[in-house]
Symmetry: C2
């Protein structure tokens, strides 16, 4: 995504979801105004975003839906299905493992890992739950570059290091702690408690 500002990149999945959603208008073309209305964004903003990744809009006509889907998908690097590993097969980990929504963006969690031998025997959502020791080999064999951390805070740093050692390049961290930045590795911290706290901050 070189050249695509972060706020724009964050809107791209919304456009894609809307364009692919059934039930909406199934016209062959669509205008920036229609997208803006549906997603409650400014129409100039939508046009600017789309110009950045597509630039294939036609005055008086709008955008060809299928083309636009192609272009946004390309900008998001969607090609085939990228596989991710999940570390931590607790409740949150299992919720992610069963969640079907990633496929829309060409992503899937292909295996989970846990230190708890009790969880290791479980196959969840048709996916294996393996012991931590199996992580390096699994990642190498499957060419995994995406890792998800769903363990308690105390274990996060260690899991992070293990993922780095496996050559992971993108980390989605659900533990409420910052992870040491590493050149060439992208980290997103998903601090659930903090998110709810901010949402509720203005309540009184």
């Amino acid at each position: 995504m070189p050249g695509i500002p972060k706020p724009v990149a964050e809107r791209l999945p919304l456009y894609l979801h809307y364009l692919q959603s059934p039930g909406g208008e199934e016209e062959r073309t669509i205008s920036s105004a229609a997208i803006a209305r549906a997603l409650r964004l400014g129409e100039v903003q939508v046009r600017k975003d789309l110009a950045l990744v597509s630039g294939a809009g036609k005055p008086k006509v709008g955008y060809i839906r299928s083309e636009l889907i192609q272009h946004i998908s390309k900008a998001l690097g969607i090609c085939g299905t990228k596989k991710a590993v999940l570390v931590g097969a607790g409740r949150l980990g299992q919720a992610l493992l069963y969640y079907g929504g990633f496929g829309e963006y060409g992503l899937s969690i292909s295996a989970a890992f846990d230190t708890d031998p009790g969880k290791v025997t479980v196959h969840a959502a048709g996916k294996p739950v393996l012991p931590m020791a199996a992580l390096p080999n699994y990642c190498q064999c499957h060419g995994i570059r995406i890792g998800i951390i769903a363990v308690p805070e105390a274990g996060a740093a260690q899991v992070y290091q293990a993922l780095l050692d496996c050559g992971i390049k993108a980390v989605w961290n659900f533990a409420p702690c910052r992870l040491e930045p590493v050149e060439g590795v992208t980290v997103r911290n998903e601090n659930m408690a903090a998110a709810l706290a901010v949402l509720c901050a203005g309540l009184d």
Copy 2:
């Protein structure tokens, strides 16, 4: 949070978490430089943020830890424990129900609601899972103003309306759809699949 810019508000929980975390330096005072180092932020940014909610730093000394915790807590509206209801007791819902991290910010999920009679009998994490019909009465009796939507996309709009009817003022939505904005109600959309897609966008 009138007067506090959103980016600042999003950093406040990080400061609070760091200040309250055990194991760190347990000094009575702390400097903006120390906080910045730990959280990997700019020190001027930390000082500006803290000046906005506290303004009680002393040159040469820093901030008194306990005071700072008080001030940030106040800015985040933390007082006692605010209760939230959760709609949708699937895997994600249960993960949230069991998650213990909300307490740090004075929040707790006190009950879940589901249309599936099978889920209704379960008591999860010592919290009741009730039928949807019980929602209005529960919210009124407990003075609930926070609602969490953890149902599939198709049901989200209806659940949202139900929550609005109950007088909910803050909504945390995990379904991948935008919800109609309503005056006086804050909504945060937590689109998990989109988040992972953006994280992985730059992979190749």
